[in-house]
Symmetry: C2
Subunit: 216 residues, 2 copies
DNA sequence: GCGTAACCTTACGCACGAGTAGGTATGCTC
DNA sequence: GAGCATACCTACTCGTGCGTAAGGTTACGC
């Protein structure tokens, strides 16, 4: 019935682990281009050079596939950052290294980052996934601030620190979006700019300088 | 054929303008709860107390409906902010008033904001809409910084300013997300925190203090 | 060489939800 | 109180794309 002429033995049989990576690569690419909803499993399969049922066999549902993408990418990113920011450096050095690694990663995976994370923010099932990873980041940053504070003999409520850390992380994510949209921009420069906004403010806070609302 | 018993004359006939607002209210609510894709026109119609064809007749396609929601909400927000930040105040006052208005608005429309904007970031057609409004905000902030700089006899490249402004706006949006997720948090306090991060950093920048990367 | 298991395919079922066709009631104007 | 416009309804069509059933094909052990 099928006219599969053996003139095309082009289909190599590959071990599962390899195929899974290919599929994830394709999935990230397609999800990025189209967004979660508009991406079709058929297109992902085709892009991976494989047929749809294989995707289901290996990575499961469309949702599960997306989560698998998220996990792989976040793991890679966390690794890149963690490897850069050694815990024994002074706070500004840690922040700088961490930011540089972060923006470097985003710069190197622009398309992957851009829509994958923007996408994940939107729909319920993924939002929680993403929130978890963001929480880890916030905790790290807050811990860093706390450490720096104690070294100066000062102390601040945990919530307060968390919010500041959240703002820093948020600003970084926004600049990451900006970076992903501006192919000509250099990651290193972006990291420097971020330091200019973040560190100058944070350093003041660490020294006890605060801004108080006027009693207008 | 239809057993519409006249025992329920409950359906008031209402003028178009009123119904449109009801529909938009319902749409914002449902889009927020479910996200753009998962939201069904049927549910929106039901929530608005009307039937589906009416929605199509008045507000058009699902996409057009969502954009209408976006427009209404952004217009409201811009109005709230513009009304608060008079252009003749000193920069920190303007920033403070603007931020307070912004977080006040988000606090009062938590569900509306949260998923509407998070959603809009994700999918192509809306991303541009949202980017346009964000651009307006960034421009305002950048203009503010520029104004403050000139007053001090200094000057900085436009791109540089834009990036700083972008970071500030981004941090604000993130804190807005945080606020939307924490029902107990007070908008005013959040605005103060944002000032502490943003203004202390920006003020330094305005004074020419900058952070430079180490030559590691 | 030959079975068996893993790899891989084509081709379909099926649900879900956007958008529409066509008809009914209600208020407003003269 | 006839007529017209506008508000409003029920009940469909139809595309799209997820997920699967059932069957080929290659590698590898013995």
């Amino acid at each position: 019935m099928l006219a599969r002429v053996s003139s095309t033995p082009s289909f190599k049989r590959l071990p599962r682990a390899v195929r899974e990576q290919q599929m994830l690569d394709a999935a990230v690419k397609v999800f990025s281009r189209r967004g979660f909803h508009a991406a079709s499993m058929d297109e992902i399969a085709e892009d991976a050079g494989i047929s749809k049922p294989m995707v289901y066999a290996y990575l499961g549902t469309k949702e599960e596939l997306f989560i698998a993408c998220l996990h792989r990418e976040t793991a890679r990113m966390m690794l890149a950052i963690a490897g850069a920011a050694a815990p024994d450096l002074p706070p500004d050095q840690r922040l700088w290294r961490g930011l540089r690694a972060f923006f470097g990663f985003v710069g190197a995976h622009r398309d992957g980052w851009a829509v994958l994370y923007r996408q994940a923010r939107g729909s319920q099932p993924f939002a929680t996934e993403l929130a978890a990873m963001r929480a880890r980041l916030v905790e790290v940053v807050a811990g860093m601030l706390d450490h720096a504070l104690r070294a100066r003999g000062r102390e601040v409520a945990a919530t307060e620190l968390e919010v500041v850390a959240y703002a820093l992380v948020g600003a970084s994510e926004s600049l990451a979006d900006w970076l992903a949209d501006h192919p000509e921009a250099e990651p290193e420069k972006t990291a420097t700019r971020m330091m200019n906004v973040a560190w100058l403010g944070a350093a003041q806070l660490l020294d006890g300088v605060t801004w108080r609302p006027p009693t207008d």
